[in-house]
Symmetry: C2
Subunit: 551 residues, 2 copies
């Protein structure tokens, strides 16, 4: 989500990234908020540290928990959050939901949109909190947890607003019967399903949580937000802002509650299995995701793990392609669910209008581009961000033992601003198409696999198989041949995987824009839901039609 | 679905029903098809009997089956249907689905609408086939399996047409970046989920099957139709008509296949569990419905059993109310999924503007109205139709042993046209609110329970509890008090049950009109789907968005 000036070289990008001036009128850029906003945001964030978070409008806590550690400083944040018994949370939600469910959708849309305006006032607090819980760079933290998350929230509100008004709320039905007619007054109500639960993850605690929250709220369901215990602060600030706006407008703040817990005493299963919890949104690993999906009587929306592929067939400008891909795999150290992992390249190399590029040359160019990017003092640390947790770092280190040829061993990278930051350059391995035991798994984090295939058809076959068996959220493909493009589209789309073709310059496969790109299709094992199509909304309520003989 | 002239007495209704003349210009009435249509339809139907059904465009059968018996004549129909191995059916469906899935929705809508025109040519054949498999009266058979089923099919086509065009198929996305902009060409495709299976029931073999068939087809999925072995002919005629229109328009007729089987060798589970079958529509009992819903990796739409309630609180005109209810419980001998079963009446009786009607008087009036209806030689047999199978008849007979006070013992009723017809008048029992072991179950067929409650609040509480625990498709309520009306609406809607208030005259709670009433809400145990809301359509395909850097 880092967007830089149009240059086809990393040096140019560095310059643009450094300047950043021309973004100042785009709300997705921090500069748009004035020159002092950043410094004030850091101050404001620091004032939250080492104390209880008391901004929520929830009472009756039975204790306080908090275990967040900054991937940049390796220090504890020291913020604690109130803990509530599961039954209290659900009881409060049910009570608050009664009138919320009857509030007309237009009124709900109005107050929910106002909550987004309020959240905007905290963009810099949220950005710093995101940075120091997830390890995202400041820029990504700002954009992903700020304007881009709000965009997705607004998208859910807008889609709900549309779908809930799909049928008339009242009408007179008349059936001609010859000399007379039968007349019925009919009304149609979108009845909310019940209490919603949104389970967050540690890498995108706001961006992945807001769509579920706002989809539940616009459809009249009260919502309980259960963040990852290592990334509570960013979403706590958002929930607090929502609660205050609700209360100011005369609504019960318990329509949206925070349910913090600790790693030692997780409440996620207890919440998920509560009979009054009817809707569950989940982002995270597949094991827990499959458990949530299997719960009887729940409507569940998941984003789980996937294995994203890049299919390289032919290119116009190899350097532009390689720059783009090197950035894609480095951005936030491969911790985006949209990051590519498996690169399928034919053993004969890539064709171009100017002749063939041998397989080994492509691999070398890719390696060199990553090395140049991560070692660039102005660019490397800022692009990589920090590795969110120690397990991911261990996985990256252990990747050297996976087998295959080590093209690039992952190494520590210095962040000049934060000397203790957990920064790690991508590990790149070359494997053969027979090494499916290596590449048939999500290797979350800074790990990239280059898979040598017989030809592009073989690449497509393997990428399709991966998506079908293990799920995929993205697929990048490079080809200059229309018939190959059609084949890739058909095959990958048939396993419900979207394809981004020939991206170069300042747009990457990792990026999905609200109001324009669906995020996850919901059709393969990477998840069963999509931000934000009709299904993401309409499964949260039930149409009920009543009728009465008209007098 | 029998519609008669506006009279508040059964005698008036008989007259209207007998005359039927003023309906002649409404396509839901047989008279609209000319004076000879009926006789020709009987002839045409009789020509189908006692021979193999060879109108399907499917080949490679491994045998022929057929076991239908007319509930009117108790004779076997003698029609046999080709049997195909499950794998062949699915392989054919997958192959046919490839091009069908890529056919633009506008073309699909056009040819599907043409299939409905063709089906219309067979309305009388289908009506006779329905009558002699389900036991419905001729009029109900004609309407339910003919124009009303086609209406529901058209509704599915129209809803699909709308939902599939919800997002643009192509667009140019441009993101301003200051001195330049990023441009992406994007396309959005509604990718069909895979092979659809529609499992039919023995009482409404066409009406309950067409929505699933057409919802699958409009969204690009090939469909396999698995009818109940005792009610194949009506839907076989429809599938054959669909196949011929598909072929005439250059499409593969295997887009819609019939999968007949026999009671001894059912193929429903094998079909349901086939990995390529992704969509299942099911109508029938809850045990099998729950099994289908539990299958992993399938998108399932069910209509199962439910217990429908009538809440009687207060009335303006007790006789009009009782006439309406007597007809509702008698129509097709309670074999409609929308038929009321449990009548909740306060022990203090009903209030009216003219004073109180004691409980026992209400019960007596209800009994008398049923007796008058079923014993009316012009009306009784035609309203009751015939009981589809022996199990239902046994259940009605055994109901006398359920406990409670027998208000009306079910008795055989003579059908003058068909002396062997299995016709049975409703059994009516009075039970106390403590007899929940009796009324907490679906007693499918001509069985009615009157439950004496403390007061209307108690009635509402019990009706709500029934809907929540056992499901409900309809609820009829009678009250002249606005605050009670609101309470009933709120409570029943909260368990996703629609309420029909104060129906009298020629409209009954059993009736749901296409394009106006949802059939089943999908929110309680009576089923997880609804004819035809957005969800019934959008769960059958997946939105996939592709993009490419614009040159």
């Amino acid at each position: 989500m880092l967007v830089t000036k149009h240059q086809n070289t990393i040096e140019g990008a560095v310059k643009a990234n450094h300047e950043r001036t021309f973004f100042s009128h785009y709300p997705e850029h921090p500069k748009a908020y004035g020159d002092e906003a950043h410094a004030k945001g850091v101050q404001s964030y620091q004032q939250l540290l080492n104390k209880p978070f008391k901004q929520l409008l929830q009472t009756g806590e039975t204790g306080w928990v908090g275990e967040e550690v900054s991937p940049y400083t390796q220090e504890v944040l020291g913020v604690t959050y109130p803990v509530f018994p599961v039954n209290d949370l659900v009881t409060q939600a049910v009570a608050a939901g009664k009138s919320w469910g009857k509030t007309p959708v237009k009124e709900r849309a109005a107050v929910l949109t106002e909550t987004l305006e309020r959240v905007k006032d905290y963009f810099f607090d949220i950005a710093n909190a995101t940075m120091h819980t997830t390890g995202q760079s400041f820029m990504m933290s700002f954009q992903a947890s700020g304007p881009h998350a709000n965009d997705r929230a607004l998208e859910a509100i807008a889609t709900g607003y549309h779908e809930l008004q799909r049928y008339p709320s009242q009408l007179l039905w008349e059936k001609p019967m010859g000399k007379f007619s039968i007349k019925l007054e009919k009304n149609f109500k979108a009845i909310p399903k019940g209490v919603g639960l949104v389970i967050g993850c540690s890498t995108f605690p706001v961006w992945n949580t807001l769509p579920g929250i706002y989809a539940d709220l616009i459809t009249g369901n009260p919502v309980i937000v259960k963040p990852h215990p290592k990334a509570i602060l960013p979403i706590a600030i958002v929930v607090s802002a929502i609660q205050h706006v609700l209360q100011e407008n005369g609504y019960d703040p318990h329509i949206c509650q925070l349910a913090a817990d600790s790693s030692e005493k997780l409440i996620t299963k207890k919440l998920s299995e509560h009979p009054d919890v009817r809707l569950i949104d989940y982002t995270g690993g597949s094991t827990f995701g499959n458990y949530v999906e299997s719960l009887p009587g729940k409507t569940v929306f998941t984003e789980k793990a996937g294995v994203n592929s890049v299919i390289l067939d032919s290119v116009k400008d190899i350097d532009a392609v390689i720059q783009n891909l090197a950035f894609s795999v480095s951005l936030y150290s491969g911790q985006m669910c949209t990051a590519p992992q498996n690169f399928f390249i034919p053993e004969s190399g890539l064709t171009t209008p100017d002749g063939n590029i041998p397989f080994n040359d492509v691999v070398t160019k890719f390696k060199d581009a990553i090395v140049a990017l991560v070692n660039n003092p102005k660019m490397g640390a800022g692009t990589l961000g920090a590795v969110q947790n120690e397990n991911t770092l261990t996985r990256a280190k252990d990747a050297l033992q996976l087998g295959g040829k080590v093209i690039l061993p992952g190494t520590a990278v210095i962040n000049e601003e934060f000397s203790h930051a957990r920064v790690w350059a991508p590990t790149v391995l070359e494997v053969s198409s027979a090494d499916n035991n290596i590449y048939e798994q999500e290797l979350f984090g800074p790990i990239v696999l280059i898979i040598k295939t017989k030809d592009t058809q073989h690449s497509i076959q393997l990428a399709k198989q991966m998506a079908q068996k293990h799920g995929a959220i993205t697929c990048a493909a490079y080809t200059i041949h229309p018939e190959i493009k059609e084949m890739i589209t058909d095959e990958m789309n048939s396993v419900f995987t979207p394809v981004s073709f020939n991206l170069t310059g300042f747009i990457w496969v990792n990026q999905h824009a609200a109001f324009s790109d669906f995020h996850v299709t919901g059709g393969n094992p990477a998840g069963n839901a999509s931000f934000t199509n009709q299904e993401f909304i309409v499964k949260r309520f039930v149409w009920v039609g009543n009728r009465e003989l008209a007098e």
